[in-house]
Amino acid sequence: MEVSYYPGCSLESTAKEYQLSAEVVCKQLGIELVKIEDWNCCGALEVSSLNPTLSTALPARNLKIASERSNKLVVACNACLNNLLTVQHKLSSNEELKQKISRILNYKFREIKIEHLLDLIWKEVGLENIGESVKKPLNGLKTVSYYGCLSVRPSKIIKSDDPDNPTLIDEIVSVLGGEPLEFTSKTKCCGGGLLMTYRNIALKLTEQILTEANQREAQCILVTCPLCHMTLETLTSKVKTGPDGHKIPILYFTQLMGLSFGIEPKKLGLHKNLVSPDAVINSIG
């Protein structure tokens, strides 16, 4: 099955390991991610405070490209997903804005289905089929799933399984033979939007998340977003952890899926993670 896919800037640079693992895991599951032609940056969190028209037009240009080729678009980055869905919602509910953006982009707006890669894998492939691909069960690996903010809020626009207690990654981990732990920080903010500007705030927020993961004795944190990944990985060295100074590896959920499918770590980009994932790789064997 071919699916139109919007990678976003991070997956082509700072989060290459997410893209590598997403592509190879999807292939294993019979899905081919086809990048939409000549896509542009969605504006991330940085444009909306400068120019509201532009912060609508940038995601809308990608929606236009996507809608010309397909009725569906898959996105792997939480921030891009949020921007694309929010803009689609604005265009379908605000006639004046729709007219303006249509003029600027020469775009005949039509709604398409936009969903996160995690939803695609969970819904379209299903847990049973995922289970059939497992070659190396996770041996009870203890994981916590960190969903972040932008793939669950606002729940009126982002239709996740549960905005307060999402469980899709946890369900997948169970099928892979791991042990997903309770994690009250799963939708709390890591401060990623402030990483470059108010680092102390981001550090304190990240500390709360990493501390809970430590207290629960998680062997690995699983994420679905390159901004969360970058923030947690960058700030983990600043957070005081256990007496042995052990840092919990932070993996994209697709990287862990790939390991349990028996895919080589290098093909999953695990050598690119900043916090060494060796403990996870070794525990699976």
């Binding site: 700072t14 290459k16 028209t53 927020l205």
Partner: protein, 194 residues
């Protein structure tokens, strides 16, 4: 309004039309619906770690007409955009969008020379936007080096330089930008969106 202290209100300085100005901006439409319950503030993660940041207070100040204090304060640049306030608000005020409306107004006032924008967020956002305008996508190495030079903070530069180096060694950031094919077309979109 700094350091978490309640600002004194100078009645002579109040601008009663400010709330209408905010509600005309995209994102600011619902500000007058606020009934002061404070769920935005108790649910705000930034508030928990930085008591100078107080969403309810910012809303009150807008409704009272404290235009200059609000628009020139650094606190309006500290929202992390987690959208918890937006999710929890019983009145659909959408504070996370209100803050964007306030930033837009602040930039406009600063352009007129009426206020000065404080803190690094505006500069970072502007450099980020320029990067998109130049290439169509974000060019991390260029963005980071421009921003580091702009911050002129040695400790900051050192910490991000070492991170940047690590990323470069892992092949996560390249030295050449990726330009989209239809760059001319995208740059026209930038102009038409002004």
């Amino acid at each position: 309004m700094v350091n978490g202290e309640v600002p004194t209100i100078d009645f002579e300085e109040l601008d009663p039309s400010f709330k209408y100005e905010v509600s005309k901006e995209i994102g600011g439409q619902n500000i007058k619906l606020c009934f002061n319950c404070g769920i935005c503030t108790v649910s705000c993660p930034v508030r928990r770690v930085d008591d100078t940041y107080n969403p309810r207070r910012i809303i009150r100040m807008v409704l009272y007409g404290m235009k200059k204090e609000v628009l020139s304060s650094e606190t309006i640049w500290k929202c992390a955009h987690c959208l918890t306030c937006l999710e929890r608000c019983p009145q659909d005020v959408k504070f996370a969008e209100v803050i964007e409306a306030l930033r837009i107004l602040a930039v406009r006032e600063a352009e007129k020379g009426n206020i000065k924008i404080k803190g690094p967020q505006f500069r970072f956002d502007s450099i980020f936007k320029d990067s998109i305008e130049s290439y169509g996508r974000v060019f991390e190495a260029g963005l980071l080096s421009k921003y580091m030079l702009n911050r002129r903070d040695l400790g900051f530069i050192m910490s991000f330089f070492s991170l940047g180096l690590k990323m470069f060694r892992k092949g996560k950031i390249g030295l050449a930008p990726h330009k989209i094919k239809a760059l001319d077309d995208l740059q026209r979109v930038f102009k038409d969106s002004e």
